[in-house]
Structure formats: C-alpha cells, structure tokens
C-alpha cells in the first residue's frame, strides 16, 4: 500500500437498485486537509460511514494505514478521529465523563487522560462545562464536544462530516483554526463540507463527488482549472460592514464588471472582463464608490468551479 494513509479501492454501495456510491477510488497521504465536496445526497456521508465501518461496502475496500477497515476495524481505526453526522452522547453523562469514555476506549494512559481532555476542551472552548450533563446542552455545544472527542488522543487521521454544522459563526471560525493547527502538526484531515469558503480557506485539496461518482480529486487550483477557465478574472472583495443592495447595484454597473456574486453579507465575488489594466480601473472605481472596501484578492475560484462542475453533471 506504499505510504498512503487512506486508500479507497473500487468502493461501491448499493441500496437495492439505487447506487449511493459507485466505484470510488482515492488515495491520500501527507499532512494536509482534503475537502470533500458534493451536493446533498452525493454520497459524502456514505463514504465516511464506510471509512469507519458504520456501514459495509457492497463492493471494494478501504485501507487506513494499510489495514482493511472492513476486516480489522479496531486496528485500522487505531489512530483515526471521527465525527460523522451529529452524534448524540448519553445524556446523563457529563462532558468529562463522555470524553473519558472515548479516551479510555482509545487507550489514553490514565495519567495522561486528564491533561488530554483538558487540551481538547480548551480547543473547543468548552472547559467551563466539564462537569455539566451533556443532556442539558445546546446542539452547538454538543457538536463542540463531538469535535473534542474526534481530536482526543491526537489521532493521525481525522475524518469529519460537516464539522461546523450547528455552530455559531465564532464556533465555525474556531473549528477552522483547530483544523489549520492540526494540519500543521502532521495530521491528515478529510472533511466534507458545503461551505466552500471554509474549504478554500483551510484545505489544500478537494475531492468532488456527485451521484456516488468521483468527479475530480487534486489540488484546489487544479480542480478549479478543470471546471473553470476564467479563474484569473474573478476577484473576491471584502467590505467593512454589511453591504447594502444599492452598493451591490452600483458595483455591478461599473463598466468591465461582468458578474457579481454575493458570498456573504460582507463579501462579493466579481468577474471582470478584460486585461489587468481593466482590472485596475474597475477596482479604483469601486474604491471611489466609497462603500467600505477593505480588501480584495483573486478568488480561489472554487465556488465557480463547484457550480460549473455540478451543473454539467446534473
């Protein structure tokens, strides 16, 4: 198996005559974050569930550190942290007990358990809740504990299924920071997400899947250029405060602006026609509009690539 951390071989999953996953092949290694993208029902969760033996493949194999998950699950998942969908925790347990349970299952030595738990709850900002019952916590708080459980014991490989779902904006940004940090500490992170700005922010690579089939896998820039040719002309703009509709309209009227897409309240993607000189003109016109522009950067193009990739197939 060479030195690949994750090797997926001809993985298929059928539900009756419906094919949720067909012939997926994927190899991942190194210390990085791989985003797993695809529309609802594409097969992302299905893939991750097979990775962790929560469901069995109809065909094919998945090897983690060279070990077949389906044959030797316990050994294969030895150094894997997992968060799939939104798990629930026995409601009568406290946060500390829930994490101790996972820590003991993972085999964290007794004398390290307290400090390991402390480390992860500080990362997810849940240190003040250690002795409170999980059943009394909000959805987002539980999700933070789920993330803490996944990274507890410092696993080499981390599998996350929409980890920021249910989190408040601060929580999302904290989780992004956690993932960036883990990536720099020699972990492989495989993460499904619908938030493309999140993926382009923290991941180096993406895998795109639709109808159970892998469409592309590789560096973000490579995948983008596969699906999206005009990448160079897209610029992401950030503004100091929420944009008004009138400002967006004014920007779209500037000559040379071909298209305006809102990313969120404070960010826009604009597509510019023409060369770099034209681009400079457009940007200076926007500055003159006085709508609170604070920065611009070439867009990763991931959103455009995503839209064009999934338009082609469906």
């Amino acid at each position: 198996m060479d030195n690949y951390s994750i090797v997926v071989q001809n993985l298929s999953k059928e539900y009756g005559s419906f094919s949720a996953l067909s012939n997926l092949n994927l190899k991942m290694q190194g210390s990085k974050c791989v985003g797993f993208l695809g529309p609802n029902g594409a097969g992302k969760t299905t893939t991750l569930k097979i990775f962790t033996d929560m469901i069995k493949p109809s065909k094919g194999h998945i090897f983690i550190n060279g070990i077949d998950v389906n044959r030797e699950k316990k050994k294969a998942l030895k150094s894997v942290g997992v968060l799939i969908e939104t798990p629930e925790i026995y409601p009568s347990l406290t946060e500390r007990e829930a994490l101790s349970m996972i820590g003991q299952i993972k085999g964290i030595p007794k004398h390290d358990l307290d400090s390991s738990i402390k480390k992860v709850v500080e990362k997810v900002k849940m240190e003040d809740w250690l002795d409170k019952k999980v059943g009394k916590m909000s959805k987002g708080m539980k999700q933070r504990i789920n993330i803490a459980a996944a990274i507890l014991g410092d696993p080499d490989i981390i599998l996350l299924d929409e980890p920021t779902s249910g989190l408040d904006p601060r929580g999302m940004s904290e989780v992004r920071d956690i993932i960036k940090e883990l990536k720099n500490e020699n972990h492989l992170i495989f993460m499904s997400s619908h938030i493309l700005s999140e993926v382009s922010d923290i991941c180096e690579e993406v895998a795109m899947i639709n109808h159970g089939k892998l469409l592309a896998y590789g560096k973000i820039s490579d995948v983008v250029s596969k699906f999206y040719v005009e990448k160079e002309n897209v610029v992401e703009l950030s503004f100091v405060s929420d944009l008004r509709q009138s400002s967006i309209k004014a920007i779209s009227k500037i000559t040379g602006v071909k298209k305006v897409d809102t990313i969120d309240d404070k960010r826009l993607n604009i597509t510019i026609e023409g060369d770099q000189k034209k681009q400079a003109e457009v940007l200076s016109s926007i500055v003159k509009l006085n709508v609170g522009l604070i920065s611009f950067k070439p867009s990763s193009g991931l959103e455009e690539a995503y839209l064009s990739a999934f338009k082609e197939v469906t």
Binding site: K49, K56, K73, K74, K78, K106, A149
Partner: protein, 286 residues
C-alpha cells in the same frame, strides 16, 4: 524536518476485555442516573411492602404452614415478574437506542469492536437487574427469617435463588436480541413485553395444555423451575386430566424438571446472545 521528539506509538488501544469494561462502567453510570432504575427500585420495594403487609395482617395459611410454603407463595409469581420488568427496563432499548438516539455514532467510529459495546452494555444491564433482584430478595428473606427464624432459609430457596439469576441472564439475552433486531426503541420494547408477558404463556397453553406437547422451547416454561423447586414434593412431569369423565377432550399440565429448566434458560441465554451479537455486527448505521 523539524527537531520534534517522536513519541512513537502514542496510545495503545486496550484489549477487548478492558474496552468491554469501559463500556460497562459508563453504561452503568447512565443506568444509575436514569429514572428507570428508580422506578424499578420503587416497584420492587412496593411489591415487597405489599406482600409484607398482606402476610402480617391476614396471616394466610398458605404462607405460614412451613418455611418452604412461605417462599413458594411469596416468591413464585412476584420474582419472575420483577425479572421480566428489569430485563425490559434495562435491555429493551439498549441496542436499538444506539441507532435511534444516535448515541452509537459517538461510539462506533472509535477503535472498538461492536461486540465490546454489546457485551459491555449487557453486563451493565445485568448488574442493575441483579441489584433490583437482590433488594427484593432481601425483603423476602427478611420476612422468612422473621416468621421462621433459623429454619427460615430452606435449601430449595437457595436453588430457586440461583435459578432466578440464570433467568435474569436469559431474559436479558432475549431483550438484547430484540433490541438489536430493531432500530426503533419503542418497537423493541413492546415486542419484548408482549412476548414475555403474553405470547409465551399463550403458546404454552396451546402447545402444552391443549396439544399435549411439552413446551420445552418456551423460556417462561423453563423459568417455572424457579417455582417448581419450591414445591415439596417436586411436581410430576406431566399431569393429564379429562374435563368430564369419558370425554374426548383432555388437558395436560407440564412441570419442567430442574435440569430441563436450567438447559432451557441457558440455551436461551447462549442462542439469543450469539444471534444478537451477530445482528449488531451486521447492522448499518443509517
């Protein structure tokens, strides 16, 4: 390369036995804090108090002629009821709940075999049923010793006590089997209750009483050894009687032998546990 220290293999995943005990520990904690445990404790204490009151006030002859007849009257019906209730309360949704409440999603993705989760939870459920059972036993023995002093503890009661513990294991095995068969907690609880309280005794009547076949495949028939050992003499294997003289229609009553009872209960325990483990191993979380 950064000059970091390599800690090598950080955590060694514990063996299956230790992981099973970890599951037992936390499932027990969950049971201990559950409303069910207290409800069940109250129910069995209430039954104990009720019986104590009846015996003290009415002094029924069936209870007080001998210590054996005391245990036979007191224990026979009540203890099997308490055991069935504990099995359903603690086991009825033990595995189905992992799917329905999604608590399995928190556990199964970790380096632990599913069988360790199943067995760990089984041990916790068994332990808590045993606690309930021992509380009820204490009330029973307290009364027995009060009325019969040192002779208040016939050896037959000790046999019955051990058979009851075997019955806990068998009934728990069955409820775990059903809770692993269904993903819906309500379904698994209701099926188990109906089976243990109604279907089995109905079947026993049909098969035994009317069709004159020994109902050796019915768990509750095997569990009747718990009360049979308290009869002196031990009842005959089968008693047949015609409803009216010379009538074509007759009925039979089967009384399970001690050895047969042990085999039936042990058989149920082993077969349902193996089947339940097998089903849980194959079951998909979706």
């Amino acid at each position: 390369m950064k000059g970091e220290i390599d800690f090598g293999d950080k955590n060694t995943v514990p063996n299956d036995f230790i992981q099973t005990l970890v599951m037992t520990k936390y499932a027990s904690l969950d049971y201990l804090r559950s409303r069910r445990f207290f409800i069940l404790l109250i129910i069995s204490v209430l039954i104990g108090i009720l019986l104590t009151g009846i015996v003290a006030y009415f002094r029924p002859a069936s209870f007080l002629t001998s210590s054996l007849s005391f245990y036979s009257s007191w224990w026979s019906m009540s203890v099997t009821f308490i055991i069935i209730l504990s099995a359903v309360f603690f086991g009825g949704d033990a595995i189905s709940g992992e799917f329905q409440n999604k608590t399995g999603y928190f556990l199964v993705g970790n380096p632990i075999k599913r069988s360790s989760i199943y067995i760990g939870k089984f041990l916790a459920a068994f332990l808590f049923s045993l606690i309930i059972f021992l509380v009820f036993t204490a009330i029973t023995v307290g009364n027995g010793v009060y009325y019969f002093h040192s002779s208040g503890f016939p050896y037959q009661f000790f046999e019955s006590f051990l058979l009851s513990i075997l019955y806990i294991a068998a009934a728990m095995g069955l409820t775990f089997f059903f809770s692993s068969l269904f993903k819906n907690s309500t379904t698994s609880i209701i099926i188990t209750v109906i089976l243990l309280l109604f279907v089995f005794s109905l079947l026993q009547t049909l098969v035994g009483t009317l069709a004159h076949i020994q109902p050796w495949f019915i768990l509750t028939y095997g569990a009747q050894a718990i009360s049979n050992v308290l009869s002196n003499p031990y009842p005959p294997a089968v008693v047949s009687a015609s409803i009216a003289p010379h009538a074509a229609f007759s009925i039979s009553s089967y009384y399970v032998r001690l050895g047969e009872g042990v085999i039936i209960m042990l058989g149920y325990f082993i077969i349902t546990t193996i089947a339940g483990l097998f089903i849980f191993e194959k079951k998909e979380f979706n």
